[in-house]
């Protein structure tokens, strides 16, 4: 009783805080409407909103009970409340770690230290600038953030006889943290993007060219060799040679500090521990200190744009790594607001996600406006249909079929400040086998960004014929199939739709179930078919 009261008070206080906060989301909605002539979709149904916000913030669908309660609740602040609840859910950290891993690593090989690093960062809502700083700092003998350098080391892995891909690393730092893809400006000024010059690429390149993967430690770690002269370059199309020191895109060059021989190292190599020497002049350290900074607008702008992308499925600048003057933002003032909110809040990721989630733009239905046959994706007049990642599909299918025991409830963990780690339930299903299969079926090959809904024949064959998901549709201790087998048609239909699609069925849909239960007399088989058909539907496979 006492605990419920304190929870209620906590929610009340939150509500007050929210209502008094600046209406950034209102400004955003106004700007979206102003720039996007034409009818807007209605605000989404409660069911659609609940499923959507769950998938975006915690990477999982709501339970049938949560869905029903939400649909039936009369509270006018229920949407705000659920946003805040989910932002504090332990699954939030897991989900953001997974989504940032997909975005930053583009399905390159995983690393457990890196996963732990990301999980910890999102658990404590670490500011975005700190996160990026840690990723770019060449780790010394530091024991915190040990996985952070995986972003860098994975790009430096040698593949066969190919040379180490320093240009690729330089490009990826630009793409992920500044939103600029300078890869095609390595050998000459970019042929179609006038903003991207060869000097821009070379400036970024100068930061990474002297780095290497350390082999004295078991976690991903970067070392640096001495840099004592600038890079010399010239265009392959002819022209004079120029030099550059390390320079962040749109920034000024950093002077290369040259030290006398014998004095170049801040820390000498340690022969016993095999720790390498650390040069006094460390370009990566300079990069990590200067890139994620308030006076580097491009950093905040890119990060804000990516947060919008995570929620709305499309960047305000799109593609996400092509910010330049000829690639107009669809709603530049909206991006300005998000950029500013990010900076002034101290790079608070949850703060910006909360703003976006609270907007009407985010809460709009994915159904088209009346009498409209199509809507441009850049207008945000409708909520776009977004893909689910392999991870989201896995968690959602496990929950939908009832194969994921509820060891994780908010009320248990809320009052336990120690409980910041996500507990992965292990007794229902072989999770590592399931992980593997879902990744094989749904993840892109390495270096292919996951942006649009691109269903694959491989995934279809997986759902059709692989035993994993098929077995989840058969009755087992307390799962969906078993629960449904004891129900009559009407309650069965309701529970089936609430559990899998997080909404109530229409009469037509209930009739379909009724018909199927007749045409397939074996109830287990019929239920398996019904469950499977909803799991394989586009409605389930997308975030709409």
């Amino acid at each position: 009783m006492l605990r419920q009261t304190s929870v209620a008070i906590a929610y009340f206080c939150l509500c007050v805080v929210i209502c008094a906060s600046p209406p950034a989301q209102k400004q955003i909605d106004k700007l979206i409407k102003a720039r996007s002539p034409g009818k807007l979709s209605d605000i989404s149904s409660d069911a659609a909103f609940l499923r959507r916000i769950h998938l975006d913030l915690v990477g999982d669908i709501p339970t049938a009970q949560e869905a029903l309660e939400f649909i039936e609740s009369k509270s006018s602040s229920k949407r705000i409340e659920v946003i805040n609840t989910l932002l504090d859910d332990p699954r939030y950290a897991r989900n953001m770690a997974e989504r940032f891993n997909i975005m930053l690593m583009e399905r390159r090989a995983t690393n457990e230290h890196w996963s732990e690093f990301l999980n910890a960062a999102f658990s404590e809502n670490r500011p975005a600038d700190a996160l990026v700083r840690q990723i770019l700092t060449p780790s010394a003998s530091d024991t915190e953030n040990v996985g952070a350098n995986h972003f860098l080391t994975s790009r430096l892995q040698k593949i066969g006889q190919n040379p180490t891909d320093y240009p690729g690393l330089a490009s990826d730092i630009g793409r992920m943290f500044l939103g600029v893809n300078l890869a095609c400006a390595q050998c000459h000024d970019h042929l179609f993007v006038t903003d991207y010059k060869q000097a821009d690429f070379q400036g970024m390149y100068a930061f990474v060219l002297h780095s290497y993967i350390r082999n004295d430690v078991t976690y991903p770690a970067i070392g640096e060799r001495i840099m004592n002269k600038p890079l010399v370059f010239s265009s392959v199309f002819g022209g004079e040679q120029t030099t550059t020191g390390p320079r962040i895109y749109m920034g000024t060059q950093f002077e290369i500090e040259v030290f006398d021989k014998g004095n170049e190292f801040a820390v000498e190599a340690n022969k016993e521990t095999k720790e390498p020497a650390i040069p006094r002049f460390s370009p990566l350290r300079i990069l990590s200190e200067n890139l994620p900074r308030a006076d580097n607008h491009q950093f905040a702008r890119n990060f804000a744009n990516r947060l919008w992308f995570l929620m709305l499925g499309r960047g305000i600048v799109h593609p996400l790594d092509l910010h330049h003057s000829e690639n107009e933002a669809s709603h530049p003032e909206v991006l300005d607001i998000l950029e500013s909110e990010l900076i002034t809040s101290g790079y608070d990721v949850k703060h910006v996600l909360r703003i976006i989630a609270s907007s009407e733009t985010y809460q709009r239905s994915s159904s088209l406006p009346k009498n409209t046959t199509s809507v441009s994706p850049t207008s945000f007049r409708s909520f776009p249909t977004k893909p689910l990642s392999a991870e989201q599909l896995k968690w959602s299918m496990l929950r939908a079929t009832g194969m994921l025991p509820e060891t994780l409830t908010r009320s248990e963990t809320e009052s336990d400040p120690e409980e910041t780690k996500t507990v992965i339930p292990t007794d229902s299903v072989d999770m590592s086998a399931a992980n593997q299969k879902f990744l094989e079926a749904y993840a892109n090959p390495p270096k292919e960004a996951e942006i649009d809904f691109t269903p694959s024949v491989r995934a279809a064959l997986f759902l059709l014929n692989d035993d994993l998901v098929v077995s989840w549709t058969l009755p087992a201790s307390g799962n969906l199939a078993e629960t449904l087998s004891e129900m009559d048609t009407k309650p069965l239909s309701k529970h089936l739709f609430l559990t899998i699609l997080s909404r109530l069925p229409t009469d037509d849909e209930t009739r379909t179930i009724e018909n199927h239960l007749i045409e397939e007399p074996d109830k287990t088989t019929a239920l398996s078919n019904l469950i499977w058909s909803l799991l394989a539907s586009t409605e389930f496979a997308t975030n709409h």
Binding site: L191, F192, S366, S367, L368, S374, V375, T385, E440, P445, E448, F453, T454, P455, S456, V457, R458, A459, A460, L461, F462, L464, N465, D466, D467, V470, T506, D508, E509, T512, H516, E519, E520, T525, N529, L530, W532, S533, L534, A536, S537, T538, E539, A541, T542, H544
Partner: protein, 423 residues
């Protein structure tokens, strides 16, 4: 008895056993044409068999030998079935069917590196328009469609890993990527789940389709179309699991029991099954070192599979319907390096083709005496794309893709079909 898909496949195996393959698979023995081929001929579906020789086949050790010259290497040339035309002694079987082929020895392309060259050549080197153009296979899959087979329109038969590769498709979108079959292995999960009958599979898919129809009532159909397409393609593949059964040993012997021989046989099977565009890859041609001993074993194995395939397709009548192309990303340098190898040479090399719309028994283009540069009219890859689209009945100068509202020409603006190669 009503034959449902999975039952049909099983009963055929049990009723006819392994003998079924030999009696039905006449291939290049003249006489009976397999029922599936007959059906294909009737439908006159336009198809392409694209043989990609990865790494750069040496034109001097194949189509355009210059024996006894400074850069000619050790091998001799041999007479072919076209009077006056000689090719390398390393291709004796192909020499006998030269009258079925068209070869252009005057190819001059732009890139001398694999990383740039492979992509540029496969895309037809269109003018830069800020978009990633599709590879030829994706382009044809898009322009011609999947036909009636229900199989993916673009299948890639290759050594190594298989899977669904949509990188080739560029701006056309993943739907026009390739289904890659690696080492002849069927895609994972190809066979229907052991506890599910095909009747039940039909039922559950009916339910799925119904759910999607309802979902798309108020939304753009793009997502449900894509989802529907992949399930339809998956289920069609499931019904064609016979495509992945082991080849007839006699055929294996004729094509050569090598990775390329086996893949050419599978490629032919895919064409006969009605796949619009089949690409067959051969790797390992980048002979910067030991080029001559290298080609001494590479060429005969290529020769055997290639000549057998063209002969089989000619005898079955398929050659009139299927455009066949054999090429690399560039040729190899006349200059011989210190590792007794040849390096990359886009300046003067050769492309071979035959089939639908192509003139047979013709060799155009000339390189100079030393084989260093093209002496006659030069052709870049854009001109070949025009030629091939034309052979397929596609108007390459007027037809366009439309990408997000932007019209894009399908082949290089400034080039045109090579009339001398067209029938």
């Amino acid at each position: 008895m009503h034959c449902t898909p999975i039952e049909h496949a099983i009963s055929r195996r049990t009723l006819f056993g392994a003998a079924a393959a030999t009696t039905l698979g006449m291939g290049g023995l003249g006489g009976l044409v397999r029922p599936s081929i007959a059906k294909r001929l009737q439908s006159d579906q336009k198809q392409v068999l694209f043989i990609w020789i990865d790494g750069g086949m040496s034109q001097l050790e194949s189509w355009d030998p210059k024996p006894n010259t400074q850069f000619g290497g050790p091998f001799r040339s041999i007479q072919t079935s076209i009077p006056g035309i000689r090719i390398s002694e390393l291709m004796p079987k192909t020499a006998q069917i030269m009258h079925l082929l068209a070869v252009d020895r005057g190819v001059h392309t732009q890139d001398n590196s694999h990383s740039a060259g492979v992509g540029r050549v496969n895309r037809g080197d269109p003018k830069d328009r800020g978009v990633t153009y599709p590879y030829f296979g994706s382009a044809v899959a898009n322009l011609l469609g999947p036909g009636e087979s229900g199989l993916p329109p673009y299948v890639w038969v290759k050594p190594g890993s298989g899977g669904f590769q949509f990188k080739d498709a560029g701006f056309l979108g993943p739907q026009y990527g390739a289904l890659a079959i690696g080492d002849g292995q069927a895609p994972d999960n190809l066979l229907l789940h052991k506890d599910i009958s095909s009747k039940r599979d039909d039922l559950r898919n009916k339910l799925r389709v119904l759910a999607d129809e309802r979902f798309t009532k108020t939304r753009s159909s793009r997502s449900t179309e894509a989802q529907g397409f992949v399930f339809d393609t998956a289920r069609t593949l499931m019904r064609r699991s016979d495509l992945f059964e082991p080849a007839d040993p006699k055929d294996k012997e004729r094509y050569g029991d090598t990775p390329f021989g086996r893949d050419m046989l599978l490629g032919k099977k895919m064409i006969e099954a009605g796949v619009t565009f089949v690409k067959v890859n051969s790797y390992g041609w980048d002979t910067h070192g030991d080029n001559f001993n290298g080609h001494a074993s590479l060429m005969p194995r290529f020769d055997q599979a290639f000549a057998t395939l063209v002969t089989d397709m000619h005898e079955s009548g398929m050659l009139d319907h299927v455009l066949v192309i054999a090429m690399s990303e560039f040729g190899r340098t006349p200059r011989i390096n210190g590792h007794v190898g040849r390096d990359h040479w886009p300046e003067a090399w050769s492309i071979a083709m035959t089939g639908r719309g192509i003139r047979r028994g013709t060799v155009i283009g000339k390189t100079n005496k030393l084989g260093t540069f093209v002496d006659s009219e030069e052709h870049d890859i854009g001109a070949f794309f025009h030629t091939w689209f034309h052979a397929l009945g596609i108007d390459s100068t007027h037809d366009e893709y439309v990408n997000d509202g932007q019209p894009l020409p399908i082949a290089h603006d400034d080039m045109a079909p090579i009339k001398e190669l067209l029938a």
